[in-house]
């Protein structure tokens, strides 16, 4: 099923991958959006909590989980930031500050993505 361009999101979320993987099944896209709306806020909360606790192994794990969603949603800048988080070894003040900035970026973009997904959801119902 083709979706008119007028419905394409101008924001961070790009559903082109999910659409191309759906074989025209809007129920599949809806199901995927529902999973994302369910898991993305939880994953972002996990990332922030892990950072505040200084549990960097958990920070990397949370980033890895969000990366999967970012890939499916075509959020390229977020994927790059998440790669940086996965690679960071926060042994210095500088790297910890860098990590904090990355976590902040991820949180901001994911909050926007969730808002956009809620709007997108209505277009497939």
């Amino acid at each position: 099923m083709a979706y008119p361009d007028v419905f394409k999101s101008p924001g961070v979320v790009d559903l082109a991958y999910l659409e191309s993987s759906s074989f025209g099944r809007s129920d599949f896209i809806l199901q995927a959006i529902d999973v994302l709306l369910d898991q993305l806020p939880e994953q972002v909360a996990d990332l922030n909590q892990a950072f505040l606790k200084g549990d960097y192994a958990l920070v990397r794990l949370s980033a890895h989980k969000i990366k999967s969603a970012a890939g499916l949603l075509g959020i390229e800048p977020l994927r790059e930031t998440l790669r940086q988080i996965e690679a960071v070894e926060p042994q210095t003040v500088q790297s910890t500050k860098q990590l904090e900035a990355c976590v902040h970026d991820v949180t901001r973009i994911c909050v926007q993505a969730v808002t956009e997904l809620q709007a997108e959801r209505y277009r497939y119902t």
Partner: protein
């Protein structure tokens, strides 16, 4: 995890499972598999532990496996398998490619996986399956079993059925009744899956030897063999019916 009873194990349709702790990634691969006529989705597991249990219950040809999972990673899972189906790794990280080569996987897919790339991986798995099947067919026409203190050669096409009896299995051929100290699982693994079907917790039958089926029983040479309810669908789909 969801699980469907074994079916269509014909050598043409590959029976698959997905192992990934990410629900969305599972959803995408599930959708790809359901679009493919030569693949049957048997189960979708959120952990390697669930997958290990499923592999013990049902013959699986192909596993779509994530690497980074809690408790047991995909690589640990692959290394833990004694009887290994084909493995296609599905991961968001490129750096496991070398390790993947070491454990001899069929293919390595990077998330997000496109359907085109998925198809390539499946075609590679199908090619390997054909090679394995032809090797199995060429090399194995019989099995040696220890019975009455000696090794006895049993041709596969002579076996009618096999039944469990306590710690033993009884192999029934046209003119022999061989009692072998073995489990059903162990003997099932020695038989070509294209020729034999598990039809009950205690029975394996040669598909070619079946004379008829009535509700919950099989008739082979006037002997009646029960069909377990969880094995019935699998059996019926493997028969050449009109």
């Amino acid at each position: 995890m969801f699980y469907t009873p074994a079916c269509k194990h014909t050598g043409v349709v590959m029976r698959c499972i997905i192992v990934d702790d990410d629900e969305l990634s599972r959803l995408v691969i599930e959708n790809f598999i359901t679009q493919h006529n030569a693949l049957e989705l048997v189960g979708s597991c959120a952990s390697a532990v669930e997958a290990a249990n499923l592999l013990n219950q049902s013959p699986i040809d192909l596993v779509f496996l994530d690497i980074e999972m809690p408790v047991m990673s995909g690589m640990e899972f692959v290394r833990s398998l004694t009887k290994r189906p084909q493995i296609i790794l599905v991961t968001a990280k490129e750096e496991y490619a070398l390790e993947a080569f070491d454990v001899d996987v069929t293919d390595y897919l990077l998330k997000p996986v496109t359907y085109g790339r998925f198809l390539q991986a499946v075609q590679r798995a199908q090619r390997q399956a054909r090679v394995s099947a032809s090797t199995e067919h060429k090399n194995l026409s019989h099995v040696f079993v220890k019975s009455d203190g000696r090794l006895v050669k049993v041709e596969f096409d002579s076996i009618r059925w096999i039944e469990a009896q306590g710690d033993y299995v009884v192999i029934r051929t046209k003119d022999k009744r061989l009692i072998v100290h073995s489990t059903m699982k162990a003997i099932e693994e020695k038989l070509p899956s294209t020729l034999f079907a598990r039809v009950h917790r205690s029975y394996i039958v040669s598909i070619d030897q079946i004379d008829g089926i009535e509700d919950t029983t099989i008739l082979i040479d006037r002997e009646v063999i029960p069909i377990g309810s969880s094995y019935r669908d699998n059996l019926l789909q493997r028969l050449n019916t009109i």
